[in-house]
Point group: C2
Chain length 323, copies 2
């Protein structure tokens, strides 16, 4: 896993992934007590950064394997990313999703042409059995959601853009807050800014009860979450950091930040109000950290990823009611 | 009013207004039966294209007049645009707003540092009296919302970007649907694409009961609306086309398109779902036309402006419930 892989992935993504803008709002700066710069990956194809990693993985496969098709496990954003990347490559995709994933994510994955197989999230072991059986039977290649070098390389392309955009606005030193599940997005961005903007420091942000990365960084070894479901931040509730992602994050990132679910919902409302963006709760944890955990941060500027916007309308409407 | 004024305004806006991206979604293409390209001015500073015109006007004023301050009449988006442009120029702004304007727009205008004076929309004549008295007393310069060359020039900068972005994606011929109130945005974009992308044709889009532009284009003379309030599309309910904007639109634009308020609300829901954008109802009428008035359009591509995203959360939540 190195910066060259990220640069190569970025060049394969050129013309296929969106280069998302860097946005800001004086209203958010006032709350945060520093300048807040938003990298809205909710505007990426399929509504999350996951399309980058999926495209990077699919475009790196050899043609024969790609033609046999791919398989992915996902609660929704990786699912949609893989489904669209596969469809655009003329490949078939099977996505194994928990049955309690947001309805919108399941629907979209199907609409993007993938075959969706549902499993009960509380019986996680079934998932692997199910997926492995299908993959073996059809000769499918597994596209892992985060602990996979090509996927990390694709997500890292976001970091190359952040480095360029930070230079354009004259920001040389800042924390970069990244919504963190298994660490693919976080480690990819960390590697990219290490190379292209060494004054930026990545900080993983997680929701309460799913702070495996923050605890792992503290203890120095991979820690697991007690729960595997039951958060509105469904996009980023993975059981533990990855074997590949964790050492990268340990080497390059500052301490993790943990926000409450209420703060994530309030951040969704602020993204609506001040940025005119639709963020999902899991995609808004970094914004929540910038706005309400300012003592955990350093410097006059903070860069914030909004990792996704695939939220059911009832959850979104509830977020707008949050004070 | 000519293309040179637009180019000059664009260069004064460089570094101050956002160059908004061009977005798309396969889901929207499917509904529309053609490729739909979205120009999201809801992502512009203050949440609408109005910042462009306001900045163009303020930056064109002579310093002494600017220091005395400016005055504007607006239901909200022009208000915020003028408030921010004035604040950034170190000038004071008085904004005369109808008391039934969305609460969010009134609040934001105040938060941006402007002095807000409210009037009763049903007694429109009061508005001019009020504004004129304040302007005379304090020596303020009126910044008109649309029938003003510098304002049209600023809005036209959007059209220069559309022309460039259409060329980048290889679109040479398409209708460009513009959310239309008094016609500043529409006429500015029409002049810009006439010069830089003559295969593009602008079409004004309005909500039912406020279709003064469509009727004026049909009759060949300036027509007025019977009503002056009572639409969720508050951003674009002006009494009649402007004296400057109408002849430009008459010369350059195709026939107007009229959408229902229900269609505008449904378009808000689709922008949420498929683009992760917050559009206000008046800002979503062009998208509604692309999705549900496809017989009125020509060609394989359509370019759609989303003109603003300043919507109160209760209206937005209601839009998300629309089927």
């Amino acid at each position: 896993m190195n910066i060259e892989m990220i640069r190569q992935a970025a060049s394969r993504l050129d013309g296929y992934a969106r280069r998302t803008p860097l946005l800001n709002s004086a209203f958010l700066d006032d709350i945060a007590g520093r300048r807040v710069w938003i990298k809205p990956e909710c505007l990426q194809h399929t509504g999350s950064f996951k399309f980058r990693g999926a495209w990077a993985a699919l475009s790196a496969m050899d043609e024969a394997a790609r033609q046999r098709g791919v398989l992915a496990y996902s609660s929704g954003n990786h699912a949609q990313g893989v489904a669209l990347a596969a469809a655009r490559h003329g490949a078939s995709a099977v996505i194994v999703m928990p049955s309690d994933a947001p309805a919108l994510k399941i629907e979209n994955t199907k609409a993007l042409g993938a075959e969706v197989v549902l499993y009960d999230r509380s019986r996680r072991s079934e998932r692997e059995k199910l997926g492995t059986a299908i993959a073996e039977e059809r000769g499918l290649t597994l596209v892992k959601p985060f602990d996979e070098p090509q996927v990390i390389a694709g997500q890292g392309s976001t970091g190359l853009e952040i480095a360029e955009q930070a230079a354009e606005i004259g920001v040389k030193k800042a924390d970069v807050l990244v919504c963190c599940g298994g660490g693919g997005f976080t480690s990819g961005i960390a590697l990219a800014v290490e190379a292209d903007a060494p004054g930026l420091r990545v900080r993983p942000v997680e929701p309460e009860n799913f702070d495996d990365m923050a605890r792992s960084l503290q203890s120095g070894q991979i820690e697991r979450n007690a729960k595997t479901s039951g958060s509105l931040c469904d996009a980023i509730i993975t059981p533990s950091p990855g074997q590949i992602t964790f050492p990268i994050i340990q080497r390059l990132c500052g301490p993790g930040i943990v926000v409450s679910e209420d703060e994530a919902m309030k951040a969704v409302a602020h993204a609506f109000l001040r940025l005119k963006l639709v963020a999902e709760p899991g995609g808004a944890v970094a914004l929540a950290a910038a706005l309400w955990h300012q003592d955990a941060l350093e410097g006059d500027d903070v860069i914030v990823t909004i990792s996704g916007g695939n939220v059911d309308s009832d959850v979104f409407a509830r977020a707008l009611e949050s004070p």
